[in-house]
């Protein structure tokens, strides 16, 4: 379920922590249809990007997006000048819908932020892991170097905080 964030409070931090722990302890990765060995679970890369498409396949729910640059004013492009599309491997489709992630809630052009455990081979794809997922209100974007969780009125989709870029915390 999507939650609108008006500010960060101690209660919210505690609630989020409890939710994360419960999620980790009680929820097996249902409907996982492939090994996650290809992803480097020891690392998070953190993105703010723009949605190209949500792909709600039952087996492999994906979000296709183009990252924004650090200034948050332009798309990241490949060496041919084309938008560089990343693929985020999400949880099961059922869990994604439970979190409110749909084609309607993430239309093309929606700006959002999340962390990914990147593919070990450096290709533009990764797995969400336990990262939080935050969407900027329509028509807004974060300040340079920041993410959607910093924008007033952002929405959280599912549990989790924005991770820091670099080593992932051990669970």
């Amino acid at each position: 379920m999507a939650v609108e964030n008006r500010g960060t409070t101690p209660m919210r931090i505690v609630a989020t922590f409890v939710a994360v722990v419960l999620t980790v302890l009680l929820s097996p990765r249902i409907d996982a249809h492939h090994s996650y060995a290809m992803y480097d679970g020891a690392v998070y890369r953190v993105f703010t990007g723009v949605i190209v498409r949500v792909v709600p396949n039952a087996a492999h729910f994906e979000m296709h997006f183009v990252p924004l640059n650090d200034a948050r004013d332009a798309l990241v492009r490949d060496d041919k000048g084309q938008p560089l599309v990343w693929v985020a491997q999400m949880e099961s489709a059922a869990q994604a819908f439970k979190d409110g992630i749909t084609r309607e809630s993430f239309p093309q052009g929606a700006v959002f932020s999340m962390g990914l455990h990147p593919r070990r081979d450096g290709k533009p794809a990764g797995d969400r892991g336990m990262s939080g997922l935050f969407q900027c209100p329509k028509g807004t974007k974060p300040e340079a170097g920041k993410h959607c969780d910093s924008v007033a009125g952002n929405k959280a989709f599912g549990a989790g905080e924005m991770p820091k870029e670099g080593p992932a915390p051990r669970s």
Partner: protein, 439 residues
């Protein structure tokens, strides 16, 4: 004398058989009419005849029918069909061929080769002509009903059923006994118009919105001129909803219960549709389904359904549909004079405000063949041995061979991307940039 007697007897027998056949033909494709709602008769017989080739053999390569003045440029001589938009509505641009005739220019049809391809000896300019006088009337295709949306149509059908004490709630004891195996009724080889064999191209284009006209033209051009068929089954891609009314998997089996009616079939893929009786939308999470979500009700022994939430996709040699496609389908039983169940008249009214300029209708008949109890098993098909797009052509690749393969974006019309990258480099294609709101 005995010869004469035998001849007279044979003639009489033939007349009886013809009469029986005629009455059977009459019984089918004539569903009961409820004015303004369902069963509207056609101005002419359905299903339609296929467009013929105007002439057979090499002497007809590139040769128009007598009295037909060819255009200075047509699809077989054009280098850029995008620039010819004003000609798309002229049947001579297509040399009077139906879309499927164009797709089959180099073959004898799907799965069949030929030693006399209609593309002629100097492809593509030597392509042969079809019969310019054949065209299934447009008024037989557009919906005869006043509704703009499937929802309106469905609500009107329910209201009508209610006015007569319905909808009917069948039990195991009363429900129609439709369970069994069905085939396609194609008298004299005639098939419904959606096979894209019975119409001149401009007639079908007139049913589409401008963007979807361009999509269909693009497909016909690359199939006919470049022989670059991107047929879904070639690549083990899904067949999609509309392929039921073409050469894709069809509803060949039916199971009826008081809660649901199942349509199932397999062929170049599997089709599986569940009519949820007495339910309302939504039936689940809002993920588009390849065969949509279907609700329905009984009106006596007629099954009336509404299908929505269909995945937009493509049918080769024909028109694409969007995620907004919805259908109203009405199934009515057909019996002969003795009350024997012959099968189902199956009327489908298609609403797609994105792809279709006007709602359209298909009326076909599913012939009852036998019960589940005597039929072969219904197989489940898993497509595991695809062709691969190499230089834009669906190509067989032997096990062990290494190829370069570009991963398609499956929900972004991958067939179009293949044509764009391999055959349209020098064309003036309207720009369709990805606009994400950032530079």
């Amino acid at each position: 004398m005995s010869t004469i007697r035998a001849t007279v007897r044979a003639a009489a027998l033939s007349l009886v058989l013809v009469a029986i056949g005629a009455s059977t033909s009459f019984a089918q494709l004539q569903p009961p009419e409820v004015k303004g709602l369902r069963g509207a008769p056609f101005p002419a017989m359905n299903p339609p005849p296929d467009v013929r080739s105007f002439g057979e053999g090499p002497q007809w390569d590139g040769r128009p029918p007598d009295g037909v003045q060819p255009l200075p440029v047509d699809m077989f001589t054009s280098k850029d069909f995008y620039k010819d938009r004003q000609l798309w509505t002229d049947q001579r641009y297509w040399r009077c061929n139906a879309p499927r005739q164009i797709a089959d220019m180099r073959s004898g049809g799907a799965g069949t080769s030929t030693n006399d391809p209609r593309i002629g000896s100097n492809p593509p300019t030597s392509a042969r002509w079809g019969d310019c006088k054949m065209d299934w009337p447009r008024e037989n295709i557009v919906s005869p009903y006043p509704f703009k949306t499937a929802k309106e149509h469905y609500q009107a059908l329910i209201a009508d059923a209610k006015s007569r004490g319905g909808p009917t709630r069948h039990t195991y004891e009363t429900m129609p006994r439709w369970d069994g195996v069905y085939g396609e009724y194609a008298p004299n080889g005639r098939r419904v118009w959606n096979y894209s064999r019975a119409n001149q191209v401009p007639t079908l284009l007139s049913l589409l919105t401008p963007e979807y006209q361009q999509r269909m033209v693009r497909q016909i051009y690359h199939e006919g001129v470049n022989a670059a068929h991107q047929w879904s089954a070639s690549y083990c891609w899904p067949e999609g909803f509309m392929r039921q009314w073409a050469t894709g998997p069809k509803p060949s089996r039916i199971v009826v219960t008081p809660e649901v009616v199942l349509f199932m079939g397999s062929g170049s893929g599997n089709m599986w549709r569940v009519v949820h009786l007495g339910r309302e939308f939504p039936l689940g999470q809002g993920v588009a389904q390849w065969y949509g979500d279907t609700i329905g009700f009984w009106d006596g022994d007629a099954l009336i359904t509404w299908t929505a939430n269909i995945q937009g996709w493509n049918q080769h040699s024909s028109w694409e549909w969007s995620d907004r496609l919805e259908t109203i389908e009405i199934l009515t039983p057909v019996r002969d004079a003795n009350g024997k169940f012959l099968g189902l008249d199956w009327e489908a009214v298609l609403y797609d405000p994105e792809a279709l300029a006007t709602p359209v209708r298909i009326l076909w008949h599913r012939n009852y063949q036998q019960s589940w109890g005597t039929a072969d098993r219904l197989g489940w098909v898993e497509c595991t041995r695809p062709l691969y797009p190499i230089d834009g052509y669906a190509t067989q690749v032997a096990p062990g061979q290494v190829i370069e393969y570009k991963v398609p974006d499956m929900l972004d019309r991958p067939w179009a991307k293949i044509w764009e990258e391999n055959f349209e480099k020098n064309m003036d294609r309207p720009k369709q940039e990805l606009d994400l709101g950032f530079k």
